[in-house]
């Protein structure tokens, strides 16, 4: 088991190196000179030149890459070119918020999807199944930003139950922070439920057709036991993979939701720094999310044998 984890982490190194290289080069392909953008339209050529030297931008690109990579390995992702804050600390503080929203939403979405997917498949072609399938398809078709805006309009503006703009950190006002987080979490939960429900439903249908389910019934077990002991563990494994992929994807990219609800999360940080040509921050964010992606999927692969013992980890 430990050997396996160690091996997987070793395998992640080339992946992350390629990510780092791609990130570094892509950022440099964005048109516009960061020094120019930072100093504004009217800056003198001398001022721009001196800022470029300060940022290390006049070095050859491979040299810049080597310098950045070397420092990143030591845990120093550099400082923001705009505010001068250390990138590592900036990412971590913003990520906390994103992580809370994503973990709660995906957790809720998984619970809902597993329950309804299982029930819908169990009563395939019944009214319940049609309703679940219809809702899942509807939710899939609705863009999350639009859903967010509608919820804001109804609960924030019309009913005035929840705040509309802004955010208070949890440490300052716990209740306030929770109120600000309700709508983004609800929005994200709803929009992630669709795919997961459909996945759970279709893998449950496949499992229900297998002989061991009939065998379990022929033993005289109740439907409840048949579903919980014999169907659920086998049907959940494919959904678990999807949950892992969803987590990885969302950790790096709920920029749209964060923008709609004006939350200072990791996604917003990334968008803002791209617009500001803040190279160190963009690079740091992308490298961070890629690492997270690799780790989440490793975790899923380690958990997989719990549901499907045919897959061994070693």
């Amino acid at each position: 088991m430990l050997t396996y984890i160690f091996k997987r982490l070793l395998l992640a190194i080339p992946t992350l190196f390629l990510v780092a290289l791609a990130v570094f080069l892509l950022v440099r392909l964005i048109p516009g000179d960061p020094a120019q953008v930072m100093l504004g339209e009217g800056a003198s050529p001398e001022a721009i030149a001196s800022l470029r030297t300060e940022l290390g931008l006049d070095e050859a690109v491979p040299v810049q890459f080597a310098t950045w990579l070397g420092r990143s390995l030591g845990g120093d992702l550099g400082n923001s070119a705009i505010t001068g804050e250390p990138v590592g600390a900036l990412i971590l503080s913003r990520f906390q918020l994103t992580a809370v929203v994503v973990l709660i939403s995906v957790g809720l979405a998984t619970l809902i999807a597993v329950t309804f997917g299982l029930l819908a498949a169990w009563r395939q072609n019944s009214r319940l199944d049609l309703a679940v399938l219809g809702m899942a398809s509807f939710v899939l078709a609705v863009p999350s930003f639009w859903l967010g805006l509608v919820l804001l309009l109804v609960f924030g503006v019309m009913l005035q139950w929840l705040p509309v703009v802004g955010y208070v950190p949890f440490s300052e006002d716990a209740l306030g922070a929770v109120l600000f987080l309700v709508l983004p979490i609800v929005t994200l939960t709803i929009s992630e439920t669709g795919v997961l429900t459909r996945m759970m439903r279709s893998s449950t249908i496949d499992v229900l057709r297998l002989d061991y389910v009939t065998h379990a019934r022929a033993k005289g077990l109740s439907e409840r036991t048949v579903l919980m002991r014999h169907v659920f563990p086998n049907a959940f494994a494919p959904t678990l993979t999807l949950v892992g992929l969803t987590l990885g994807r969302l950790f790096g990219g709920i920029a749209v939701i964060e923008t709609v609800f004006t939350l200072p999360g990791l996604g917003r940080l990334m968008v803002d720094s791209v617009l500001a040509r803040d190279y160190p921050v963009v690079q740091g964010c992308l490298l961070f999310t890629a690492t997270l992606y690799v780790l989440v999927n490793l975790l899923v692969d380690i958990l997989y044998p719990l549901f499907d013992p045919r897959v061994t980890v070693s």
Binding site: Y212, T214, H215, A218, G220, H230, P233, D308, P309, R310
Partner: protein, 537 residues
């Protein structure tokens, strides 16, 4: 009769969709305590449905429309689901066909065995464990303690079926319904499982309802037989009488399609050596560790086989003997770790591009499972025509013409526009044969081409393959575990055990005088041969 254990009368099963003909009509039968009754019929005859209806476990989409089912005097159709559950398992046990899917892969054997006992008997954990171990021992599982903690995937098909048997018989039901319990097993495991089933049910006084399409098994293991055709009972009686003198034409057809020695016979090839396998070794990589792979597992170990042009050579062995692997290696579909395969004298691993293209055209394969060997998104015409894409100088019109003619030859004229899912298993296997012969190959490797089919369809497909072989004279390497088929088609037979050849020779000679112990066991375990000999004498 009032002392019948199970009494089914007027059973009718219909599809939920209105307007369709009933799937099973007016079925009456009885099973006495301790009796062994067989229900035979082809796929779609309703035999499985009839038995699933007994404990109220019909699949979704069909329902019982009429009829009464009495078990130990109690009317099952009038029971609440709850009371029915108390009878399932404890009164009526069921064993299913597919050992690969009838145990839950996510639970240990111990948990699955204990489940029924926990539900139906009030026993403490130690007693449950003791009974599980005892039962596993009775179904001849070595090391039952370890088995309890293991998962189903760690066992072979035959062992899983024995574990299934243990889990069902542990509850000592009065009736055991076994639905094609050994169809998916090779001949040796088939015999073992059935002998066990019969011995244990006899010991416990359990009645056995055996559903099968294999008349060989019926003859050997049951007292009475019911014959179903398209949902209607056409014949019933003592097994011996029904098989010896079938009254209904359908029963006669079923009995007639049992493979018999001396039927047809092959062309008897005597040409030059076309395919020669020399000292072939095939290995599978060991489990990967941190530093490279573990020790490789040898599945083919120094095998020599020569196939002459126009000859049919049967490659026989139990599951795991390496026969399928060897068949694939003969076509270069499996890499050799040692030795070589020559086609027309040329080492297939050393062929240049042109030679390889010619070889691919001249050597074709028919796979076992007609449901997964045809690409579902292509039309039949495209599937068969694809084999012609390497033939140089063939215009599209000529290609279409060849496809049409080949489909006619396999009895599927006009099927070009169909897709695989619109066809039955037997028809699909004909498509697979058409695909193999359309490029006019000199060698066809047939990998268990009929073992997934019904007996009557098997007969048709084998006859087709034989007729085509006689007409076109291609050589054939026929991989199978079914000795009855071998006797019918092959000139020579090669018996494989654990990756080595243990016996080979002319089919008649090997069958008349098997020298190796393994061959003798294989022959003894073949039920169809036993009945064929019985009826001939």
């Amino acid at each position: 009769m009032t002392d019948a254990l199970l009494q089914v009368s007027g059973l009718r099963i219909e599809a939920d969709q209105p307007g369709l003909a009933p799937l099973l009509e007016g079925l009456d039968f009885e099973v006495a305590a301790g009796e062994r009754l067989a229900i035979v019929g082809e796929s779609g005859s309703g035999k499985t449905m009839a038995t699933r209806a007994i404990p109220g476990l019909l699949a979704a989409g069909v329902h019982r429309a009429a009829g009464s089912i009495r078990f130990e005097g109690e009317e099952l159709t009038a029971l609440e689901e709850r009371d029915l559950r108390a009878i399932r398992g404890a009164g009526i046990g069921m064993v299913f066909q597919e050992p690969m899917t009838s145990l839950n892969p996510a639970l240990t054997i111990g948990k699955q065995l204990a489940e029924g006992l926990k539900l139906h008997r009030r026993l403490d954990d130690a007693e449950i464990r003791r009974r599980c171990i005892d039962m596993l021992r009775r179904v001849q599982i070595a090391d039952p303690e370890r088995c309890l903690a293991a998962y189903p995937h760690e066992f072979s098909g035959g062992m899983r079926q024995r574990i299934m048997l243990a889990s069902v018989l542990m509850l000592e039901p009065r009736l055991l319904i076994a639905d094609e319990p050994t169809t998916a097993l090779d001949t040796l495991s088939q015999r073992e499982v059935l002998e066990l089933m019969v011995a244990l049910t006899r010991e416990m006084g359990t009645a056995l309802l055996l559903i099968t399409h294999d008349l060989g098994l019926v003859a050997q293991y049951t007292d009475r037989v019911l014959v179903l055709e398209k949902g209607v009972l056409v014949e019933a009686g003592q097994t011996r009488e029904v098989l010896a003198a079938p009254k209904h034409p359908y029963t006669a057809k079923l009995v007639g399609s049992l493979p018999r020695p001396g039927d047809g016979g092959a062309t008897g090839g005597g040409g030059d050596v076309l395919l020669s396998i020399e000292q072939a070794v095939v290995e599978y990589r060991g489990k990967p560790g941190l530093f490279g792979a573990g020790a490789p597992k040898r599945v083919i170990d120094g095998v020599d086989i020569a196939v002459r042009s126009g000859e049919i050579v049967a490659l026989v062995g139990a599951s795991g003997s390496g026969k399928t692997t060897l068949g694939r290696a003969a076509l270069g579909l499996k890499e050799l770790a040692g030795g070589m395969v020559r086609f027309d004298g040329v080492d297939i691993a050393a062929m240049d591009r042109r030679q390889e293209r010619d070889f691919r055209r001249a050597a074709q394969i028919v796979f076992q499972d007609p449901f997964s060997s045809l690409a579902p998104h292509l039309r039949i015409g495209e599937i068969v025509g694809a084999a012609l894409r390497h033939v140089p100088g063939l215009t599209a019109a000529e290609r279409a013409e060849r496809v049409t003619r080949t489909l006619e030859e396999v009895g599927l004229a006009g099927y070009e526009r169909r897709r695989p899912h619109q066809m039955s298993g037997g028809q699909r296997q004909r498509v697979a044969i058409a695909r193999a012969i359309v490029s006019r190959p000199r060698l066809v490797v047939a990998d268990e081409p009929v073992s997934a089919l019904d007996l009557t369809i098997q007969k048709q497909v084998i006859e087709l393959l034989q007729a085509l072989q006689r007409e076109r004279g291609f050589a054939c390497l026929f991989v199978t575990h079914d000795l009855a088929v071998v006797e019918q088609v092959a000139d020579r037979v090669v018996v494989l055990e654990k990756g080595r050849i243990v016996e080979e020779g002319a089919t008649a000679a090997v069958f008349a005088n098997p020298r190796h112990d393994y061959t003798r066991r294989l022959l003894a375990a073949s039920p169809a041969l036993a009945i064929a000999e019985g009826s001939a004498s």
